[in-house]
Symmetry: C2
Subunit: 108 residues, 2 copies
DNA sequence: ACATTCGTTCGCATTATTGCGAACATTCAG
DNA sequence: CTGAATGTTCGCAATAATGCGAACGAATGT
């Protein structure tokens, strides 16, 4: 049975571990939220346009299962190419901006 | 030798063809411009941060050749995952918005 | 001349996204 | 009940992005 690094009786270890875990967790959360927001935007645009997934898929030039994936909250694989195709299908375009890390303000 | 669809003595064919070609050309131009804008944003952020491609690559967790690709004007393969990694490396985050097709206004 | 750093390009393996059909449960209309 | 439409998930082939090292020309400083 190998040593277990003292199981954690050291205060610094605890702090370091917690700090690291929160940093990592925050990064993952932020990315998850950002991806989910993209997904929800697609969903919102589609429903507001009165389109079904299959209808949008046809406009985009793909199938319903792909649209369903794009709208999934846990999907992180969005590509700009696909986003632009989806946007174009609904007379929209994509705007990408690099903004300060924790800027919660939206320019409207 | 198969028929050649009258080679084009028909006015409507000419108009349709021209319309289609301009539509397609416009779409490609718009996509090219959008991609180039992303590339230039990365370049601008990097240089303003005083980083070399290799330095940024290390921060992002990749190599200089990848950064070089991302900054190329003719590269259309950007993924949100990579953009977020680049952004995070420079204390930024990515904001994606679907805006009306020909809206030339920027909200800031 | 030499070494260093820079941006750039190439090829190739690895990984991820897309394409697509099939199937399922649910809902709604006839 | 029957039929049609919707959203969803699954698997797999095809395509595309990434990872990475190597090499090159150019610019810089020693």
């Amino acid at each position: 049975m190998p040593r277990r690094k003292k199981t954690t009786t050291n205060a610094i270890d605890i702090i370091d571990r917690r700090f690291f875990s929160t940093k990592k967790a925050q990064a993952e959360l932020e990315e998850a939220r950002a991806s989910a927001q993209v997904a929800r935007q697609i969903y919102a645009l589609r429903t507001e346009a009165g389109l079904s997934q299959r209808q949008l898929a046809k406009l985009v030039g793909t199938t319903a299962s792909v649209i369903c994936r794009l709208e999934g909250d846990d999907y992180r694989g969005h590509s700009l190419a696909m986003l632009r195709r989806v946007a174009a299908a609904m007379d929209k375009r994509i705007e990408i901006r690099f903004v300060p890390a924790r800027g919660k303000l939206k320019t409207a």
